[in-house]
Structure formats: structure tokens, C-alpha cells
């Protein structure tokens, strides 16, 4: 098993980020899209922590802490919007949310 370097973690984080992206692009369900966005943030978090270890300082870890806080805030607002949407439309499918276009 080769030695695990920072680059390995970066690649892994990119893969996780990409999985999130994939979800955002392909899913129609707004809830799943939100979850995919969370996954993307986690990808970035991984990179931060890996770099934190790489550089031997804790800024990356602290940054991750804030990212989690931001993610929580975003999730709260996002879910509130989804609820509002659901109340109006009866669904949270993106195909129903195309009134604004052009």
C-alpha cells in the first residue's frame, strides 16, 4: 500500500466534491440537491483538514468548523424555503420551479 500523501486526500476530496456535483446536476428533488450540496462542502472540508495536517497548523481545522456552521445555517434556510415551496406547489421537484425563465 503506497504511502498516503496530502495529494491522496486532495484527490479524495475532489471525488467527494464531484459526487456532490453529480447529484446537484442530475437530481430533480430539491431535498436531494441540498444534500448533494452538503456533500460538496464536505469535500472541501476534507481538503482543509488534509492541508491543515500538511502544514501542521490548525487553521484548516478551524476553517472546517466554520464551514460546518455555515452549512447548518444554509441547511436551515434551505429547508425553510423548501417548506414554503411545498406549501405552494405541493412538491419540491425542480421541474415545477421553472416559472422564471428567459
Amino acid at each position: 500500500m503506497p504511502e498516503v500523501t496530502t495529494a491522496h486526500y486532495v484527490v479524495l476530496s475532489a471525488v467527494i466534491f464531484a459526487v456532490g456535483l453529480f447529484g446537484v446536476v442530475t437530481r430533480k428533488n430539491a431535498v436531494i440537491i441540498l444534500m448533494s450540496l452538503e456533500l460538496m462542502l464536505n469535500g472541501a472540508n476534507l481538503a482543509f483538514v488534509a492541508f491543515s495536517r500538511h502544514h501542521g497548523n490548525l487553521q484548516g481545522q478551524v476553517f472546517t468548523f466554520f464551514v460546518i456552521a455555515v452549512a447548518a445555517a444554509e441547511a436551515a434556510v434551505a429547508l425553510a424555503i423548501l417548506i414554503a415551496l411545498f406549501r405552494l406547489k405541493g412538491s419540491v421537484t425542480l421541474d415545477d420551479v421553472t416559472e422564471l425563465r428567459g
Binding site: 496530502t6 486532495v10 476530496s13 466534491f17 456532490g20 446537484v24 430539491a30 440537491i33 441540498l34 450540496l37 460538496m40 462542502l41 469535500g43 472541501a44 481538503a47 482543509f48 488534509a50 492541508f51 500538511h54 502544514h55 497548523n57 487553521q59 484548516g60 478551524v62 476553517f63 466554520f66 464551514v67 456552521a69 455555515v70 445555517a73 444554509e74 434556510v77 434551505a78 425553510a80 424555503i81 423548501l82 414554503a84 415551496l85 406549501r87 405552494l88 406547489k89 420551479v97 416559472e99 422564471l100 425563465r101 428567459g102
Partner: protein, 495 residues
């Protein structure tokens, strides 16, 4: 924490307290009698504006372990944000007073967004940057979806949210790369690192991802995709606020990051110049072309907002190319233009609000004969749009002149092509703005009854138009302040 930090942060502290105060006061005011909140918010903006001139604040400095800095750039933008808030709150009253509920929350969130903007202009490391930016962004998620009983508003909120989160991810990834390359998130450290000649691809990639992520706020291609939809769907005061406040918050960070990634002597800047040139060109073309077939004024303003971002990016590209040395008219032009943009755009939105209130429509066709129904509204909107189009004697003309001019500096010929595209798009822009002006002046009104304008709005319009013209004829003062800001930045960046 010592007293000097408290002095430095006085506007932010006042703003926080005020926002919370407004939130609490709301609980005491009976429903339907919420207009004092609006007056209070306006007063807060005036007070903040005054506070920025307090010697303790104005002299600048850093605090909070180097995370918070007050320099001329921050002050310039803070003042611009005060004006933004002042005008937005003033024109919002036309709209918010009619809301069935939630006035208190509206003002609180708007004030908190303003706080986010204030923080954005003062941050000195990427951690604070990210969090402050998110304060602005999340506030706007809520504000955009504020009319939750309307599908368009909620749709706008959702679209803003998804693209916003995506761009936050991009931004984060960029910051991560920069952090990975440098080992610090502090601006000073990174600037020092860049200035000493490191140009690793990961650093470049990080920087580019950061600027791309910030492009969400400034509505630059390719993360501009939310702009037209959200502008159209959001409540009109929010659109106004979004178009100015959110954009400026993005730009102050862009400028700030530019001092980090393109300091004198740094070798990253040629790549960044190419990047900005490309993005500016794409943004210009996209915004201006997309605006041509629009029939909804708010959507038109959305595309126009993208286009304006493109012009500012020309100046940013020139700043990146000149690396705060020699001719810095690109950056000062960008700052000038942003300040001009505040007044111009808000004047336009004021008219949009009034017309929407009277006619209930945002269709451009309903602006037919506006100058007949209300000469004042017609003239104000026409002036604002022509200023956006860059026509003398309005302030937008001078801004565009500086920005486009900066791209023709023979010292960095690689920007010539962007300048050329800028010139072409100026003509296109004039076309679609004139389409609106045509409806205002040339077409006959659909219904002849005059539009009423409240005294308050009359004052706003007269002031705004006067500012547009005065700023266009005598731009010296504003240019001087912008130039001073840039000079200070150059000094700081060279350190």
C-alpha cells in the same frame, strides 16, 4: 481585546445592536403600524455614514488578530453601503409598508445583510471572508424568498440558494487550495507568499476558484446564471438591494483578493489578467446580448446588472495587469463606477417600484407613455438608464470612460481585445436601454391617468438625478477619493 478594536468596529457594533433593536422593537409595535421601523433603518444608515467619518474609525487600523482591518478601501465601501442602505430603505417603504406581515423581519434581515457587507469590506483573512460573505448570502436567500406566498419569490429564493451554495463550494475549494499552497488563510501571509515569486499551479487554481466563487456575488460569468431569474422573482426592494449591495460586497472582496494575489512583483498577475479579461469579455457579451429581447423591466435590470459587472471587470483586469503600479486608473475607475452604480441603479429601481405599485406590472410595455403620465418618473428612469448606458452628462458616462479607457493602456496590450468588446457592447447596451426610453417618451400611454408620486419619492428622485448629473459633470471629487483608495491599497500591497 482592547479599546482600539472597539473603536475600529464601532460601525459594525452599532449596526449589530441596531439590527437586534429593530427586531425587538418590532415585537412591541402593533400590526399595521410598522413604519417607524423603516424610519429607524434609514436613520441607522445615516448614523453609520456619519460614524465612518469618526476620526477613530477613519484613521484605520487592524484588530482581532489581524482578521479585521479598516483602510480607505473598507471606508470607501462602507460609505457606499450606507448610501445603498439609505436609498434601499427609503424606496423599500413604498413596498414594505404594504406587506401583510414581516416588516420587522425584513428590516432586521436587511440590516444584518448590511452588517455582512460592512464586515466583507473589512475582512483580512479568508475565514472571516467566507463567513461574512455567507451572512450576506444567507440573508439574501431569505429576502429573495420573502414573499413566500408567491411562487416567483420562492423560486427566486431557491435558485439563489442552490447557485449560492454551489458557488460557496467553489469558493471554499479555492480557499482550500490557496491554504494548501501557502499554509495560511491570512491575506498578509498569502500576499507575502505571492510577492516573493511563487507561482504554483495550485495557487493559481485556488485564486481562480476564489474569484469564480466571488463571481456569484458580482454576477460574473459563469456563476451569473441566477441573476435574471432572481432579479425578476424577488420582491422589488430586494432586487434593488441585491443588485447593488450584494454586488458591491462581492466586488470589495474581489478588490481585496486582488491585493492579495496581484501585489507588486507578484508573478501570478499575468495569468489573473488573462482570467479577468476572459471573464469580463464573456460577462459583457452575455449580459448585453441577453438583455436585448427582454420584456420584463426587472429581468432587463438583471441582464443589465451582469453587463455592468463586465465593465467593472475590465477595470479589475487592468488593475491586475498593472499590479498597483503605474496607471491605476482601471481600479479607481472600477471603484468610481461602483459608487456611480449605487445611485444610478437605485434611482431606476425607485421608479420601477413606484410604477409597479401603481400598475402592478413589471412589463416594459406598461411603461409606455410614462413621461406623459408622470414626467418626473419618465425623466428619472430615462436619466438612470442612460447613465447605465454611459451617456453624458450622467455619472455612468465617466465611469465607463475610465473603465474602457483603462483597457486601452498601451502598457498592457493584452487587454485591448476586451476593450474592443466593451466598445461593441456599449452600442448594444445603448440599444436596449433606448428601447425602454422609447417606451417612456415615444409611445402613447395605455391608460392616460397620471401616476401619483409621493413627496418622499419625489425627493429621492430629484436627489438621485441631481447626483447623476452632478457626478457626471464634476466627477473630480469621487475620482479623487477612488484614486486615494487605490493609492493607499498600492502602498499597503507593496509593503
Amino acid at each position: 481585546m482592547n479599546a482600539s478594536v472597539l473603536h475600529l468596529m464601532l460601525p459594525e457594533i452599532v449596526l449589530t445592536v441596531a439590527a437586534l433593536g429593530v427586531m425587538l422593537w418590532d415585537l412591541w409595535l402593533p400590526a399595521g403600524k410598522k413604519s417607524p421601523l423603516g424610519w429607524a433603518s434609514i436613520a441607522i444608515c445615516i448614523a453609520l455614514f456619519a460614524l465612518t467619518f469618526l476620526p477613530e474609525v477613519a484613521k484605520g487600523g487592524t484588530g482581532l488578530a489581524g482578521c479585521f482591518t479598516v483602510d480607505p478601501l473598507a471606508l470607501f465601501f462602507k460609505r457606499a453601503f450606507c448610501v445603498t442602505g439609505f436609498l434601499v430603505f427609503l424606496i423599500s417603504r413604498e413596498y414594505v409598508d404594504d406587506l401583510p406581515q414581516g416588516q420587522g423581519e425584513f428590516y432586521t434581515l436587511s440590516l444584518l445583510a448590511l452588517l455582512g457587507m460592512f464586515l466583507c469590506s473589512s475582512v483580512a483573512d479568508f475565514m472571516s471572508l467566507f463567513v461574512s460573505l455567507e451572512v450576506v448570502t444567507v440573508s439574501f436567500f431569505v429576502l429573495a424568498a420573502f414573499r413566500r406566498e408567491r411562487t416567483t419569490s420562492v423560486e427566486a429564493g431557491l435558485k439563489l440558494l442552490v447557485i449560492g451554495s454551489l458557488s460557496a463550494g467553489i469558493l471554499l475549494y479555492g480557499i482550500a487550495f490557496v491554504y494548501g499552497a501557502v499554509g495560511s488563510v491570512s491575506f498578509a501571509d498569502i500576499r507575502h507568499y505571492v510577492a516573493t515569486g511563487h507561482i504554483e499551479p495550485e495557487l493559481l487554481m485556488g485564486a481562480v476558484l476564489i474569484f469564480l466563487g466571488l463571481g456569484f456575488k458580482t454576477s460574473a460569468v459563469p456563476l451569473h446564471v441566477w441573476v435574471p431569474d432572481v432579479y425578476q422573482g424577488s420582491p422589488t426592494p430586494v432586487t434593488a438591494y441585491l443588485s447593488v449591495g450584494s454586488k458591491l460586497a462581492g466586488f470589495v472582496l474581489v478588490v481585496r483578493c486582488l491585493t492579495v494575489f496581484a501585489p507588486p512583483g507578484g508573478e501570478l498577475s499575468s495569468e489573473l489578467t488573462a482570467f479577468f479579461a476572459l471573464v469580463a469579455a464573456l460577462t459583457l457579451v452575455y449580459g448585453n446580448l441577453g438583455a436585448i429581447p427582454q420584456t420584463n423591466i426587472k429581468r432587463l435590470m438583471g441582464y443589465s446588472s451582469i453587463a455592468q459587472c463586465g465593465y467593472i471587470l475590465i477595470g479589475i483586469a487592468a488593475a491586475s495587469a498593472s499590479q498597483f503600479e503605474g496607471n491605476t486608473s482601471g481600479l479607481s475607475g472600477a471603484l468610481f463606477y461602483m459608487a456611480a452604480y449605487v445611485v444610478t441603479n437605485l434611482a431606476a429601481f425607485a421608479v420601477v417600484l413606484i410604477v409597479a405599485k401603481a400598475t402592478g406590472s413589471h412589463e416594459i410595455d406598461d411603461y409606455a407613455g410614462l413621461a406623459r403620465r408622470s414626467p418626473m418618473l419618465g425623466a428619472s428612469l430615462a436619466c438612470a438608464l442612460l447613465s447605465l448606458a454611459g451617456v453624458p452628462p450622467f455619472i455612468g458616462f465617466f465611469g465607463k470612460f475610465m473603465l474602457l479607457g483603462s483597457s486601452f493602456d498601451l502598457a498592457h496590450p493584452e487587454l485591448l481585445w476586451v476593450g474592443a468588446i466593451g466598445f461593441v457592447t456599449v452600442v448594444i447596451a445603448l440599444y436596449y436601454y433606448l428601447l425602454v426610453v422609447k417606451r417612456i417618451y415615444v409611445f402613447e400611454p395605455r391608460s392616460p391617468e397620471p401616476l401619483a408620486v409621493t413627496g418622499r419619492m419625489k425627493v429621492v428622485l430629484v436627489l438621485a438625478v441631481a447626483a447623476l448629473i452632478f457626478g457626471g459633470i464634476a466627477p473630480g471629487f469621487l475620482v479623487r477619493s477612488a484614486t486615494e483608495v487605490v493609492d493607499q491599497l498600492a502602498l499597503a500591497a507593496a509593503r
